[in-house]
Homo-oligomer: 581 residues x 2
């Protein structure tokens, strides 16, 4: 090894020891007759000292070294006169006796500091320099820890990690596939998996009973913020289980990760039905770190000639405690916020319950003081509160108010970093009606089992059928989701029919799975967690990109290696494909 | 859970307990008034008993259940009258009180037994049934154990697992890439990685210092036996190390796997130079479980008018102890063996050293008895030995004799299952000359560093330059290999030039790596192990397919899911590609 110790481990117990350290020159300072160099490696920073009087040549050599040079030094560990209690190695410094330059460095295009001066595009192009920054290093170390703890925990419960193939088959249902032309089978294509869903179900048919895999998945989607064409899943499946068994097992995993990675003891996770979540939070992934739940006032406000409320399917609001003194400007901002196309409300009604006990609202002319008081009573409002009300079609209004609630939570600083509130959302609807294409889509995926007692409703009223499906939500972010699967060929066929598959299409795409169901498929179910997102939440980050070593940009490009890129004409010919002009 | 216990855990300590078991019906037997069912799950088999007299209806129900039905039973654990010491659960049986059929099964197309009646193609089509067989289950369990032990061992040494991307850039050097058309960047393609080589080197530049990853890799090659288009590597890299550090570190990993997976304590692994390996074993991956090393007799045999030897660059042979009584037919077989195009020798010369002390050879007319005796002496032959000699061009003859040596090892049963002889092969040549294309190729890959003192020879005599490269060989199988890498831009550029890259090609394909070398790249090196192969060796298997859950066949097809397959015209249009007619 080109070192005896790392740059993160020396302290007073090593005083007097001759050591060799290797690393990067973080910064250097000349202070009169002394030169100090901060030497950095993965484990920390150690201060090197050179004395111009004691060893002139060496000190002059040290003064010539530039930022990010890779050097190896020999020297003796000494106590610092000026200790730095913020650094693990802050009690000591190295009195250097010799330097070897292992490699030089051009001046990096941005500073390798926590607060760098490099913009995102530049940092992505030089990702290998960006990754030297402490924040990124911590993120990747957290990710490693999450992965190894996940694997050991699940292994201890007799889960077995089984690798499923990446070259599989394209199935047009769901998101767009990335495809891979086959040279050996011209005109035919593999697809990269959007998830190992069918393979893990086949492993249950094969009797493996407790499977998991930390696995890459691929989706060729137009990238929104925080989507990546390839991402990582903790993919799990169990046989001979009920929904309850799965929730208990993976709540165990989540608690283990909280404990082992964040050193947090978590109590049991609350559960909430999809309907409750929509009714109280306007979201199927509620952030329950704060309350501000919904109060419905539809019946109370109708029939007073306020057309917006009279025409509405739902009138619903939230109480922003202590915000009664919001200014005209602040209220206008909120109105603009809810009218943005992403939120989609037509307007915002407010009632200020002044600290003086007087209520003032944007709809004063329609409601008497007594009527306003009744509404405030329904909200359990206290003087000082601000009531914000939206009205319109039920689901749209719920969702819009849910977004406003999160915005108010942010403005009112209702959350603190490091607070985690996990939650299971259960009893999802099985199907979702799409007005545009006039057909049902699977809310989760086509393999999700309906709740047993709802099966008869599949024919009469498919929209109300509940699924044996569940999501794990932490702080308003969906960390994972899953379901009990269908394990019966006839039910699976019926499901494909409801989803608009012809028998031929179903057989062509999923025939192998339905055939497998005829050879002794056990009851089974599972869950998949978005690993990048989970790491991001635990690491207190904003973007999953910061928790991936080599992410792609919003056009799906890796700007560091400059990919995708054209390939040679010979390659196209071998693959028997042409580019369209 | 639809069970209280698994089918592998009940014994006499559970006698009298009411239990619920779930699993597959392995077989059933009616013996007079009793029906026995072997119920199977991942963990074992438990015997169920039904008594026709005691519960006629239940017993009749049990008799209707077919092979591979999935059932759940309640019953009481009882001592068997007829114990089966070969089974973990062989002391007990379950007196069943009720049955639930969880799923029916058609009769499987082959038997789910260790010795199945299903051919390979059929078993691959129904891989989910094939995987129910014990042998496959053991293989996948071994694979899981290997992976988790690898991860925990390397993590304990502060290695960090970092995921590198699967959608990268095509580089024509090396094997053929699988490519992925980019919809968002029409006319451009990603490539699937043949290995994360450049990414792991960039991680060293980024300061991560000890990286590993268990990762899928892809090669679009015409598949020979035991090649798969996707396979798994244990990919590792370290910075601030010498070759010695890497050998010591990964010998540690290998010893840990021997101990934790096979419960074998291994001594230190021997090392052998490439030249020694070729000279003594005719192979760069010698099987050292047995000796039979080469003896060169070139000087001894020339000048006796035997043209084959006179014209040969090398005359070399092995001693097959105790084979002097081989028949004419056996010797003809060996001659045919070495003349096969895969071996490529022009003929075989033998000397039988009879038990009576008399030597007889196929070249008696060219050599006197004294001359034969001198040759035998050179071989250290004893009466009863058979000497087998090949002659011709040096390397070709070494390789051919190496193949013959392995064949003799097999015929003479020189190896025993469960014996493992690991070996490091070191000092590989850096380059390989190809007569056909009249250029050098990288023996390992273009990033491998030459041995420092050989660098001056790069200009004068590239063919003799040694690489800082090494392979780990177990029982004649190359389990992994690696090298110290080039970390200097100029040397890397020179290497590309020697390998026939133009400056533009080098910059276009590997510019990002050479740029990275300008920003403080540390000395680094690494190794990659063929994970499928390592599992196969440890599991005592023949084919890596048996250690993959869902392998592809020799045409690169997954016959279970029927992939690759045509994709829809819309998909092609979105990707802006056409199929050639």
């Amino acid at each position: 090894m080109l070192r005896t110790h790392t740059c993160g481990e020396l302290n007073m117990t090593h005083e007097g020891l001759e050591v060799t350290l290797s690393g990067w020159l973080q910064r250097s300072r000349d202070m009169g007759g002394l030169t100090f160099i901060d030497l950095r490696d993965r484990y920390g920073i150690t201060q090197l000292v050179f004395n111009l009087e004691v060893n002139t040549a060496l000190c002059m050599e040290a003064r010539k070294l530039g930022r990010e040079f890779v050097i190896s030094v020999n020297g003796k560990v000494a106590e610092r006169s000026n200790k730095n209690p913020k650094m693990a190695t802050g009690d000591v410094e190295i009195l250097v006796s010799s330097i070897t330059v292992l490699n030089v460095s051009k001046t990096p295009p941005f500073t390798i500091e926590d607060n760098t001066d490099g913009g995102e595009e530049l940092r992505m192009k030089y990702r290998y320099l960006d990754l030297r920054r402490n924040a990124n290093k911590k993120n990747l170390e957290l990710r490693h820890k999450m992965a190894i703890e996940t694997r050991n925990y699940l292994s201890s419960l007799q889960f077995i990690e089984i690798e499923t193939p990446y070259l599989i088959k394209s199935t047009p249902e769901g998101a767009r596939d990335f495809v891979v032309p086959s040279r050996m089978n011209p005109g035919q294509f593999y697809a990269l998996p959007q998830s190992p869903q069918t393979f893990k179900q086949l492993l249950m048919v094969a009797g493996y009973d407790r499977y998991f895999q930390i696995v890459h998945c691929f989706r060729d989607e137009d990238l929104r913020a925080d989507r990546q064409p390839e991402f990582t899943q903790i993919d799990c499946e169990m046989a001979f289980v009920t929904q309850e068994d799965i929730l208990v097992t993976f709540e165990g995993l989540a608690k283990h990760l909280f404990k082992s990675v964040l050193d947090m003891e978590m109590g049991d996770f609350p559960r909430m039905s999809y309907n409750q979540a929509m009714t109280l939070y306007g979201s199927d992934k509620p952030d329950i770190r704060f309350g501000m739940t919904f109060t419905e006032v539809t019946d109370l406000v109708k029939g007073k000639n306020f057309k917006v409320f009279d025409d509405a399917e739902l009138v619903v609001g939230i109480t922003a405690s202590g915000c009664s003194e919001y200014s005209r400007k602040q209220l206008d901002e909120l109105t603009d916020f809810v009218k943005r196309p992403q939120v989609g409300a037509s307007g915002l009604v407010y009632i200020k319950y002044g600290l003086d006990g007087v209520a003032k609202s944007s709809v004063d002319k329609f409601y008497t003081a007594e009527e306003l008081t009744a509404i405030l009573a329904k909200f359990n409002a206290k003087p000082g509160d601000l009531i914000l009300i939206l009205a319109g079609k039920k689901e749209k209004t719920q969702t819009a108010l849910g977004t406003l609630r999160l915005e108010m939570g942010k403005r009112m600083k209702m959350t603190v970093p490091g607070d985690f509130k996990p939650l299971w959302v259960v009893d999802f609807p099985l199907l979702e009606w799409d007005d545009e294409t006039r057909r049902y889509y699977a809310k989760h995926h086509p393999f999700t089992s309906p709740v047993l007692e709802d099966i008869p409703l599949l024919d009469s009223d498919p929209g109300v059928v509940r699924a044996n499906a569940y999501d794990l939500v932490i702080n308003g972010v969906e960390i994972g989701g899953g379901s009990i699967r269908i394990h019966n060929k006839e039910l699976q066929k019926k499901m494909f029919t409801i989803l608009g598959f012809s028998d031929d299409e179903a057989a062509d795409q999923f025939g192998f799975l339905m055939n497998a169901f005829e050879y002794g498929a056990p009851p089974h179910g599972g869950v998949a967690f978005g690993f990048d997102r989970w790491c991001t939440i635990f690491g207190g980050g904003e973007s999953i990109r910061d928790f991936m070593a080599f992410p792609k940009n919003n056009s799906g490009r890796d700007v560091m290696i400059d990919s995708p890129s054209p390939i040679k004409a010979e390659q196209l010919k071998e693959l028997q494909i042409n580019l369209m002009k």
